[in-house]
């Protein structure tokens, strides 16, 4: 019965849609809505959602927010990068806020801006790639996003172009819409031409203390030898629900890095799906999550080795305090053609309290014989002997624990090449850890 509200919201959104939205997209959206209505929200009977109940999302009536581009909302962002970045696109409740955004001159042929505007302008990259990488056939949240997204970012870099500074795409949620908790379904499409290169940072943030629902889908298509360094910094309000999918299709010899940093939200589910569709792709999946209180964070990753000679390096590290719960599921598929695959997965979690919990599972599906595939998982507490050792040299208890937690996260942080992001993440982590450690003391 709660699903009906989505049909109602959809009908209203459909009526509001610009008349120049291409007919093909309108059809895709209708199909997506039908698919969502047929699938419904996943339940814990669904293997992909075994440990994660989305009932808190399914049971609430969220409303699509009306455009609201009050400049003060920019204050919600944990950081803006100014000159260190090229374009900065800011969205409020899923709607583009040009007044808060800056788009300076970019390499010739590059297209960076509001996805809705590029859709209206019938940009060929959009028509060729939108909804092609993120399939919604078996993914209810992707279907819902496809039906309902109002706007998001479109980033198209032509062949051989190199962006010397990163692009920042920031999504701000203000919390409420028409007296109901708001929902937004941001969509990001990244198309990198052959031999091109870009660094992209997505930030998600919301008004502190508010409850809302963000359901984002990012699609990235990498041409041959393209290089993408992608960051998703999830810093939602502690009361928010965040479901995000990052779907990549990487062409021959492309180099793709995804850094998923998940610090906020009450209930969070991140899916990263990388299809290594050409020979010689190098793929890095880097993940870092922190949850305290009663927050819940689920990371599902899939690396699909479809072609030979691809390498993937995956490290996910999490810190769970209080009664927080974490889920990690890392699937690696090696298709029959993908000989000489070299895949390595590590996932570790640090529990700062006895009541914190994590369920983690590697899933290797290997159909080729000449491959190297390793995985390691570990869950543990802070080493109390090490804490004492540091204290016995004069470091305070909190300082000692901080130092050890940083050491634990060290390799993940160091695998983030963008220094301003790394420092930003460290600063936010510092604040949140101080809170979590104070609560634990």
């Amino acid at each position: 019965m709660m699903l009906d509200q989505y049909a109602t919201e959809y009908a209203a959104a459909r009526a509001r849609r610009p008349s120049d939205e291409p007919a093909a997209l309108a059809r895709t959206r209708d199909e997506a809505l039908d698919r969502f209505m047929a699938l419904g929200f996943p339940t814990t009977r669904d293997e992909e959602w075994r440990f994660t109940s989305v009932a808190p999302i399914a049971d609430q009536a969220f409303a699509l927010a009306a455009p609201d581009t009050d400049a003060r909302h920019a204050g919600i962002l944990p950081f803006r990068f100014g000159d260190a970045f090229s374009a900065e696109l800011v969205f409020v409740n899923g709607q583009y806020a040009p007044a808060l955004s800056t788009v300076p001159a970019l390499p010739a042929g590059a297209q960076v801006g509001s996805l809705a505007a590029y859709i209206a302008g019938h940009a060929s990259g959009v028509e060729g790639h939108l909804a092609q990488v993120a399939s919604f056939d078996r993914r209810a949240f992707v279907a819902l996003n496809t039906a309902l997204f109002a706007d998001g970012a479109y980033i198209q870099i032509p062949a051989h172009a190199v962006l010397d500074k990163p692009i920042h795409v920031a999504f701000i949620s203000t919390g409420a819409a028409n007296g109901r908790p708001a929902m937004s379904h941001p969509r990001v499409l990244v198309v990198l031409g052959d031999n091109s290169q870009a660094s992209i940072v997505e930030t998600y943030a919301g008004q502190a203390g508010t409850r809302y629902f963000t359901n984002v889908v990012t699609e990235a298509v990498l041409g041959s030898h393209a290089v993408l360094d992608h960051y998703r910094l999830q810093h939602e309000s502690r009361g928010a629900y965040h479901v995000g999918a990052m779907c990549v299709n990487a062409g021959r010899s492309a180099n793709c890095a995804s850094h998923s940093i998940s610090l906020g939200g009450a209930l969070v589910r991140n899916d990263v799906l990388a299809v290594l569709a050409g020979e010689g792709v190098e793929c890095t999946l880097n993940g870092l999550y922190l949850a305290d209180g009663r927050r819940f964070v689920d990371n599902h990753t899939t690396i699909d080795h479809a072609m030979p000679h691809c390498g993937s390096r995956e490290i996910y590290k999490g810190i769970l305090a209080d009664r927080a719960r974490g889920v990690f599921n890392g699937k690696i598929i090696v298709r029959p053609d993908a000989q000489k695959t070299d895949a390595k997965q590590t996932n570790r979690a640090l529990l700062l309290s006895e009541d914190a919990q994590v369920n983690s599972k590697p899933e290797l599906e290997i159909f080729a014989n000449d491959v190297k595939c390793t995985h390691g998982a570990a869950v543990g507490q802070l080493d109390e002997d090490a804490v004492f050792y540091l204290r016995s040299r004069g470091l305070g208890l909190t300082e000692a624990r901080h130092m050890l937690i940083h050491a634990f996260l060290g390799d993940v942080l160091h695998r983030m090449p963008l220094v301003p992001i790394r420092h930003g993440v460290e600063a936010v982590l510092e604040r949140q850890l101080a809170q979590a450690l104070a609560a634990a003391a």
Binding site: F388, L390, R393, L397, D411
Partner: protein, 251 residues
Amino acid sequence: MLTVRNLHARVAGRDILKGIDLSVRFGEVHAIMGPNGSGKSTLARVLAGHPEYEVTAGEVTFEGEDLLAMDPETRARVGVFMAFQYPVEIPGVNNAYFLKTALNTVRKHRGKEELDAMEFLTLVRERMKQLDMDEAFLNRPVNEGFSGGEKKRNEIFQMAVLEPRLAVLDETDSGLDIDALRVVADGVNAMRSADRAFLVVTHYQRLLTYIVPDVVHVLSEGRIVRSGDKSLALELEDKGYGWLEEPVGKP
């Protein structure tokens, strides 16, 4: 400077220290010997403030202050240092970074200026040279992958940098070959001074020929059963601990 009176301590539900009395003055070196499991490390850990060890009776004053009331970091800051029998490996924490943080915390507490990166480097280079240590150690994670001997040397190195008032060395000699032992002993001797004292826990007379103690105590089953001068150590080397089994003055 250090007075221990009737100290009782327990760990994991077992009473280990059963009434230790000890008085150490500035400038002195006291050796603590005794069979395995007699409580030597327990005494060292209790002095350093290990949270697992519970003091059930007695008192410890350090320079007139109640040492037992301080948390471990405060003890370190006021000048108590323990060289661990088994130093912990701490992956991911850089030795130099850790030691600089520790040194500056301690200096701040003692009202001294913090050292900047260059001053710190100058200091640690000098100390490493004294201890014949490779500078590469600085950039390795704390104790990770160090050999037994390297770990012990690293403890003495930390001591030399932190300049404590009271240093408790828990079997710093075990795992060292004779050359390393000499280097470590020289390092300790170089630090002997009128405003510093040492408690040296060891099984062997060997170390005490290099670090000559003022007083030797024998610990057995959680009590000091005999105290004497350095000749006591020689006697123990000859006769073992058996002849001490019936301590004088046992109630």
